[in-house]
Subunit: 440 residues, 2 copies
């Protein structure tokens, strides 16, 4: 039995999960690869820290570069996260002709183009299934399973923290802040939650998904990013009344104008399968020209779910290795699904030019002419209203909440209309707007 | 640009879809493989039949063996179905060292072991993603995406005809026979529907799924197979009342006793994601030790959905080819996920030894002591009742329908209880039994 030597860099949640899976399921993994896969070295930040892991026979190292440069290591698994040290370690491992497996979405989304170019030069694989949607093999599905298709759009629930918060808000009737505290206590949200709840994490993942779906370079800086911190329990309840559920989505869509890349909360018809994806679970819906819609669902985070994707990548790399020392080349699948330069460059559509329907909510003083003034502004901005709900408040119905659903409208027109409506004296609240996504 | 020559055998629904995708999406496919993939020959049953396909530059042939033996063909795509001619053609193509892509579930389920052994001998790939769940890349997901995992069980809605019929029965309150006629008129069911509605088609697919999930040989003859023709609208309505939906499932489950392989209707809690998979759509839920539950959803049949899987397999084969003539070996992924002989042989659990909960429905004459007699029989057979519903019928409530949900019980105990209950005079109907599957 030939042995493949793996070096793990980082032994936090994902590192521990990865090591545990490789140890526990070694029989299955060997059955699938014909190789014994052994973790021989692990780099950790603190050599003296007690670890919940079986480290027998494993050499610990305080310096990740030791592993990146070790001639005995075949595959380096980067699980430290962030994009500074991780980047240096990954580039150094590639320079030493090692295959790299990473769970690091920020690293790939922001520095992927540079990393893949170096990997191609040195003929090694860099794989990153664990970087998007944890244990769901969605990278593989798009890059290989849907390779016959022209992908039209994809929409993903790709941040478990956001999905958990929105689900709890709906199910328990609680506000954002209250559920966030709970989520932090339960370990579903970080102490500093901004990265998740403001959409940065989802944007890293969407950057990667869009690149493999459309054959475009990774371009994180071009995304429109919006989080869920301004979603209120009112919005969730009105959505329900109107037959929708609010989900935080990453959407990439190909149109004549180019590629839309946007992360934001959206109202989804409640009978869509993806609307039933609750709690910390993730799912990605992909619309393609030949197969139509397909959906991939599972755990988007956690030690073993993410470790599952890391180990699947290791298995892929090992399966492609051929006899070691003889055909230890890169994977036959291009890192981003397409051979570099094989697809025409596509424009990223500025958010002002994106067209969707909208849900709008505002409070107004209940006096004659207000609704007429508001609807006139929409008409002047070329926006058609599909539905209006009016809800009374106050002792004498002095205030009402107006909820509107628009037809498909241009974002810049909507912004213009909102700017004008804000100036109406009788409008007493901010104007909440949430996109409607039909996903069909 | 290097060219890969493909020969298609069969130009029915799937053949036409495959050809159309290869032609329409050639730019994407070339971008993904670095190769031009050209269909040079097509074998058809009737050379004079008018085809809805662009056959320019393609040589038609009346004999599939012409293609299996053509030295200029790199990949043979078998889409004639059935397991007689198809088998001979596939074996001949392998003997001529051609890679084979097939959409033929019966062929793989029944003759796969023989075919794969020959393919290994000749170092060629035989791929069959299209054989299970049409365009959903579920074979790839299990064989590669979940390769880190010990799979515990999987449950699939893998026959679109059954799912369409059950969905329409529920949504429109119609009986099985009525919906079947409709489905036949709409092309969702064959003129001879037995293959689909009696579960044979799903059993072929489950055979394949189980093999790649557990590393066991293909053993179609060991499956327990039950269709949907005895499901009544009453059952569907009682299921709804009890919080369930009836789905036709293929289930493979690993337990200490071995592997369960069974195809049958089942009641699934209505809040499970898979319970929301309606109409002709398919989905497979896979429970694994590391990642937990994952689900794969999409179209399970149709020209382009199935063609999408065929073309994805072609892309996989082409990606693994390396430089043609130089490294044109088999795929690095074992055909059935595991290297032959690498996993211990597992017993297939006889259906009598399977344990599930049950829904039972029967009509009885409404007289004292009947329910006591029935419940005593269950107690004597070591079956606990979880829920009893009683529905009155007739002018004077002379008859009642009794619906029971049992706790987890052994199939042989249930059969014994049913045999005894049938003998009670007051029981006036057959005893309907449907398994309850919690799927969690």
């Amino acid at each position: 039995m030939k042995v493949v030597n793996v070096g793990l860099i980082g032994l936090g949640t994902v590192g521990t999960g990865t090591l545990r899976i490789l140890q526990r399921n070694s029989q299955e993994i060997t059955g699938r690869t014909g190789r014994e896969i052994t973790v021989t070295r692990v780099a950790v930040g603190d050599l003296n820290k007690q670890r919940d892991a079986d480290l027998e026979g494993i050499v610990l190292s305080g310096d990740p570069m030791d592993i990146a440069r070790d001639p005995a290591i075949d595959i380096v698994v980067e699980m430290i996260g962030g994009d500074d040290i991780a980047k240096e370690v990954v580039l150094e491992a590639i320079r030493h002709k090692k295959h790299v497996v990473t769970a690091n979405k920020a690293l790939i989304a922001v520095h992927g183009n540079e990393i893949f170019a170096l990997a191609e030069k040195h003929n090694v694989a860099v794989t990153f299934e664990a970087a998007v949607a944890g244990g769901i093999p969605v990278i593989k599905a798009i890059r290989e399973g849907l390779s016959a298709n022209r992908i039209e759009w994809l929409a993903g629930i790709i941040n478990g923290t956001c999905n958990y918060i929105l689900t709890r808000m709906e199910q328990d009737g609680l506000g954002f802040a209250e559920v966030l505290s709970d989520a932090q206590a339960l370990g579903y949200a970080e102490a500093d939650p901004e990265f998740d709840v403001e959409g940065i994490d989802a944007a890293h993942k969407l950057t990667i998904l869009a690149s493999i779906a459309f054959g475009i370079p990774l371009q994180f800086d071009k995304l429109h990013i919006q989080g869920i911190s301004e979603i209120t329990i009112e919005d969730i309840e009105y959505a329900k009344e109107l037959g929708f559920r609010i989900k935080h989505l990453g959407i990439a869509r190909s149109s004549d104008a180019g590629i839309e890349l946007r992360v934001h909360p959206a109202m989804v018809p409640v009978d869509r399968l993806i609307a039933g994806v609750n709690g910390v679970m993730n799912a990605t819906l992909v619309q393609s020209d030949a197969v139509g819609p397909t959906l991939y669902y599972g755990a988007g985070a956690g030690a073993e779910p993410t470790g599952s994707a890391v180990v699947a990548d290791i298995v892929d790399v090992v399966r492609s290795m051929g006899d070691i020392g003889e055909n230890s080349g890169a994977s036959p699948v291009p890192q981003l699904g397409f051979l570099p330069g094989s697809m025409p460059d596509r424009q990223i559509v500025p958010i002002e030019d994106v067209e969707t329907a909208y849900y709008l909510r505002m409070k107004v003083i209940n006096r004659p002419g207000v609704l007429a003034a508001i609807t006139k502004i929409f008409g002047d901005s070329d926006i058609s209203i599909a539905t209006i709900l009016q809800k009374s408040h106050g002792a004498n119905n002095t205030e009402v909440t107006i909820i509107m659903l628009t037809q498909i409208a241009l974002e810049s027109n909507l912004n213009q209309a909102v700017t004008h409506i804000r100036k109406i004296d009788s409008v007493t609240s901010e104007i909440q707007s949430i996109r409607l996504e039909n996903l069909a």
